[in-house]
């Protein structure tokens, strides 16, 4: 990836926003990102829009909130990785020279989707009788069997993410007091060993990024560090025996290994160069596995690293600095763009109380429906 920069980022805080429409959420995030970039909608030459749960044509219709300027608008959908996949398309649109300023917008109201679907009564899928959390719990039980992982390790990850989220004004879950391992363990059990506090909440929200050329970023904000995109990688599954074809929620572990390796290669960097990392921590067990799969620690060492606090703010490499999916929230379409928002602010040194000291390189990892993995590497130029 060459000569692609994040010009601006904006969010509507994730949460339960029953009284707001998709357009309300999207408008706030989009105008915030344009304002952050120092641009207006007239400057935008194309848009990639991500939503999972909104009706057909919601992408184009929602973009009319900003203006009707005739620009190409494309809807991108890849389950949880929707926002990340849309961001990737915008990066390539700029890198290829097709456009100079591209808007990436993600929005969703997962709260309405849950009400509409009647949760699982659709017999279209055999696995539809099973709560999705169960599939991740299966990952946890197996890890406990193989590595002696304890619920306390998972609780420590969740507590870290809650406490990071408390430092992020855009985080859905805002703990009033410091969250402890004991509190996470005492929360309601969803699917053994995962409690509600080890699981991401249902929520609504929007996030937006403006992508363009680094020289434009410099011109628009000469005083501000330029954040560039060093790598964008998207991969789907490779077949191995034991592959699960029904219940495509978790996905094979190898997909995160392969996708992140390709991204590191593209960026000519290694995992040891990362100052901060965002992952698809919909459930705490995922973050634990991704420490190893993304190469942040060696296989089998995740538990010891958690005990040492390696991935906390101020640790060896800070992970889920904005609270992650567990605290910041996971509405769907905007989630991957919330990671870009956080990483951009961190690399500029604008992340306030959760600022990672001298952050220069950040990685964003998302999984979509257990069937696609997206990794971006951003850096301060």
């Amino acid at each position: 990836m060459k000569d692609v920069a994040v010009l601006g980022v904006g969010m509507h805080r994730f949460g339960m926003w029953a009284e707001k429409s998709h357009a309300d959420l999207a408008r706030e995030a989009g105008l915030a990102a344009l304002g952050d970039a120092g641009l207006t909608f007239r400057d935008v030459q194309a848009a990639y829009v991500g939503h999972i749960f909104a009706p057909v044509m919601s992408a184009v219709r929602t973009m009319k909130e900003f203006g009707l300027t005739g620009i190409p608008v494309q809807h991108v959908e890849n389950a949880s990785a929707t926002g990340s996949a849309a961001f990737r398309e915008a990066c390539f649109a700029v890198a290829s020279g097709r456009h100079d300023v591209v808007m990436v917008l993600g929005f969703d109201k997962m709260s309405e989707m849950i009400q509409r679907s009647g949760a699982g009564t659709d017999p279209a899928y055999l696995e539809d009788s099973i709560l999705p959390a169960a599939f991740f719990a299966l990952w946890a039980t197996r890890r406990m069997h193989e590595r002696g992982t304890k619920p306390e390790h998972l609780a420590a990850i969740a507590a870290k993410n809650f406490n990071n989220g408390a430092l992020n004004p855009m985080s859905q879950r805002q703990a009033e007091q410091r969250v402890t391992v004991e509190k996470v363990l005492a929360a309601r059990m969803v699917a053994w060993p995962l409690t509600t506090m080890m699981s991401c909440p249902i929520g609504d929200g929007a996030a937006c990024a403006i992508v363009g050329r680094p020289e434009m970023a410099r011109r628009l904000h000469p005083e501000r560090p330029v954040v560039t995109v060093l790598a964008s990688e998207l991969q789907t599954e490779r077949y191995e025996r034991g592959h699960l074809f029904v219940g495509p929620v978790v996905g094979p572990a190898r997909m995160s290994v392969d996708t992140s390796r390709a991204a590191y290669e593209q960026a000519a960097l290694g995992p040891e160069d990362m100052d901060l990392v965002q992952v698809h921590d919909a459930f705490a067990i995922e973050e634990l596995e991704y420490y190893e799969l993304l190469g942040l620690c060696r296989e089998g060492e995740a538990e010891a690293c958690i005990e040492r606090g390696d991935f906390a703010l101020g640790g060896r490499v800070a992970v889920s600095t904005d609270g992650g999916l567990i605290a910041r929230g996971h509405p769907g379409g905007p989630t991957g763009l919330a990671q870009i928002w956080e990483t951009t602010l961190q690399l500029r040194g604008e992340a306030g109380k959760r600022q990672v000291k001298d952050a220069r390189v950040g990685l964003c990892h998302m999984m979509g429906g257990g069937s696609v993995c997206v990794v971006h590497i951003l850096a301060r130029a």
Binding site: E127, S129, I130, A137, R142, V190, W192, G242, V246
Partner: protein, 140 residues
């Protein structure tokens, strides 16, 4: 016994004899021999289209498990408030994830399980059934 109807056609058999365990409807590749669940037209291993329908199971080995503390979706039965879920390795190769009969303390990694049908709800004069696995050895 009331007639039984699968919650979704094309995934498992519903034997006429209630004592007979259901089988999973799978695919075997005639070129490389790999087995799949559910059925597919093209082999995911060698991409050959020379595939055939086979019956898988009914026994398998527990790879991982959990116990969900919520009602089983689509069920109104009080005994389905809380249910096990397992990943089960079939001897033919595929790994499947399906509900488990029993309680969390009945499950351990590596144990043998057998498929069974479980009524989810009634529809007209039929029972709508799902397939699940039950530990073969007694618990503990």
């Amino acid at each position: 016994m009331r007639p039984r109807m699968p919650v979704k056609a094309g995934y498992f058999t519903v034997p006429d004899d209630p004592a007979e365990p259901p089988r999973l409807l799978g695919t075997r590749c005639r070129d490389c021999g790999e087995h799949f669940f559910p059925r597919r037209a093209i082999c995911a291993n060698c991409m050959s289209a020379r595939t055939e329908d086979v019956l898988l199971g009914p026994r398998g080995t527990l790879y991982s498990y959990t116990f969900v503390h919520f009602p089983l979706f689509g069920s109104m039965r009080v005994e389905h408030i809380g249910y096990g879920v397992g990943q089960v390795d079939l001897p033919e190769g595929p790994r499947v994830q399906l509900p488990l009969a029993g309680k969390q303390e009945d499950y351990r990694v590596g144990q043998t399980l057998e498929a069974e049908l479980e009524a989810l709800r009634e529809e007209g004069d039929h029972d709508v059934v799902i397939v699940r696995f039950r530990p073969v050895e007694s618990g503990r």
